[in-house]
Amino acid sequence: MLKQLYLSTKAILRGHYTVLKHLFRKPVTEEYPEIHPFLNPKFRGVHVLENCKGCGYCKRVCPSNAITIIKDDSLPSRYSIDYSKCIFCGNCMYYCPSKSMKMTEAFEVATSNKLDLSYDVENRRM
């Protein structure tokens, strides 16, 4: 009985010591809206498209059918990604044969207007 009491007290004191040590340490949390988190270059955020040839591989590998390519005279005239469907899996970037699809570190796509939820490239050779 006494031994148990001793062991319990010892365990509790040891726990308190572990917790109290943290009073003198720096905080590990980041206050997000004020301080933007550091993201690594490989982060899969909003897309950027450059020098697209319009082959349509990205459309075929997209799991949620978020990509639309409209072609005029065999050349792509409009390319759009619907962010209400996109799951940011990165398949379009990984399987792009010409490496024209990149994903940036921007991740704040929330908006109150549904029409803003798309990435469009129009009327130029993409």
Partner: protein, 367 residues
């Protein structure tokens, strides 16, 4: 309907929106005072149709989806699906890719166990351990983000290996060293704590027979005293030495002990992988081609030991672009079913202690 001392029996709906169910589980409890007379788990609130979805998507389209089966251990599901497709198409995985896979799987297992530890202690009323476990888990998750691009939905394993070999081995070394010491810190807080012991010891005992009858796997089965670890049967782990952690009591406390020691075991496995990966020169690959899959007719059953038990992927191909049928066997589903048996006759205050100790993640139950 009269219970003990002529009091009325009461029906209590625990969940679906209950903070301790870690998701949306509804437990229909029949109570007599504080005693639970019967319990009926009601699942299906998080059903997303991931199995049916496979039938309308080709293999490459379905691969990012499998991380979503269990968002706390996405690599395991990726691996199980990739492995099934590799066996079907007779694709050989290079040795370095196997080692990278093992290393990431074990890191993911640590992250998953750390999250379980923090939230379980939170269920029991302790606040501080959650902050400490999440602090260490954050290191692992940030490392995953650096390598794969995202914190939980990785999409990193591909058919025939990994997507790229740009992994930062030094960081893994630092993380692993840190965690090995931090586990001692958790133990100093938890293991001998009299409150924790009185809440978990001899509570929710699952006997050997019961565990086998209800199909428990993983740490829950090992805590009941059965030496069964499917890593033994996975060819990927052939060259790696490790001990299988086992406890014989089968109560909540032994399930905690098994998981704590598994973290240490995982650390030693990662160290062996690091030893191998630092000695060889990693080829600089960048997976950019759509892999050519012939997908012959066949049925494949691939398995992996996930943090929550045995994970199996059944794949049925009829030679088309899309799988004919995909079926997932997940550990949490069986852990949820056993609640019906274990919760009989316990106090209401112990329900969450028992349920939490089984480490159930609801998206895995419902798929």
């Amino acid at each position: 309907m009269k219970g003990y001392l002529g009091m009325d029996k009461m029906c209590l709906n625990l969940g679906p929106q209950h903070p301790s169910t870690h998701g949306v589980l509804r437990l229909i409890l029949e109570l007599d005072g504080e005693k639970v007379l019967s319990a009926e788990p009601d699942v299906g609130y998080l059903h997303r149709g991931l199995e049916k979805m496979a039938e309308s998507k080709n293999y490459i389209q379905y691969l990012p989806m499998v991380d979503r089966v269990d968002y706390l251990s996405g690599f395991f599901y990726s691996y199980a699906f990739c492995n099934a497709v590799e066996i079907l198409n007779h694709i050989q995985v290079p040795e370095y890719a196997n080692y990278i896979r093992v290393m990431l799987l074990e890191l993911n297992r640590i992250a998953s166990h750390l999250l379980w530890l923090g939230t379980y202690l939170l269920d029991l009323g302790a606040i501080s351990p959650m902050f400490y476990t999440f602090r260490e888990r954050e290191d692992i998750v940030t490392y995953f983000e650096k390598v794969t691009g995202q914190r939980l939905m990785y999409n990193y394993f591909t058919f025939g290996g990994v997507r790229h070999t740009d992994i930062y081995l030094n960081e893994v070394k630092n993380i692993v060293e840190k965690i090995y010491f931090k586990v001692d810190e958790y133990e100093s807080l938890i293991t001998d704590n009299p409150i924790f012991i009185s809440r978990t010891k001899d509570i929710g005992v699952i006997s050997k027979k019961k565990a086998l009858d209800w199909g428990l796997t993983g740490p829950n089965l090992r805590a009941s005293g059965i030496l069964q670890d499917y890593r033994m049967n996975t060819p990927m782990y052939d060259d790696i030495e490790y001990d299988i952690v086992m406890s014989s009591e089968g109560d909540c406390y032994s399930r905690y002990i098994v998981r704590i020691y598994e973290i240490r075991e995982s650390v030693s496995i990662i160290n062996q992988c690091l030893e191998y990966l630092t000695t060889i020169e990693l080829p600089n690959i960048e997976c950019s081609r759509v892999p050519i899959l012939n997908n012959p007719v066949g049925e494949i059953y691939s398995f992996v030991e996930a943090p929550r038990g045995l994970t199996m992927c059944y794949l049925n191909s009829v030679g088309e672009d899309t799988p004919y049928r995909v079926k997932w066997r997940t550990g949490s589903f069986y852990s949820t079913q056993i609640l019906k048996e274990v919760l009989k006759g316990v106090n209401l205050s112990d329900v969450m202690a028992i349920y939490g100790s089984l480490d159930v993640v609801l998206p895995e139950v419902d798929r």
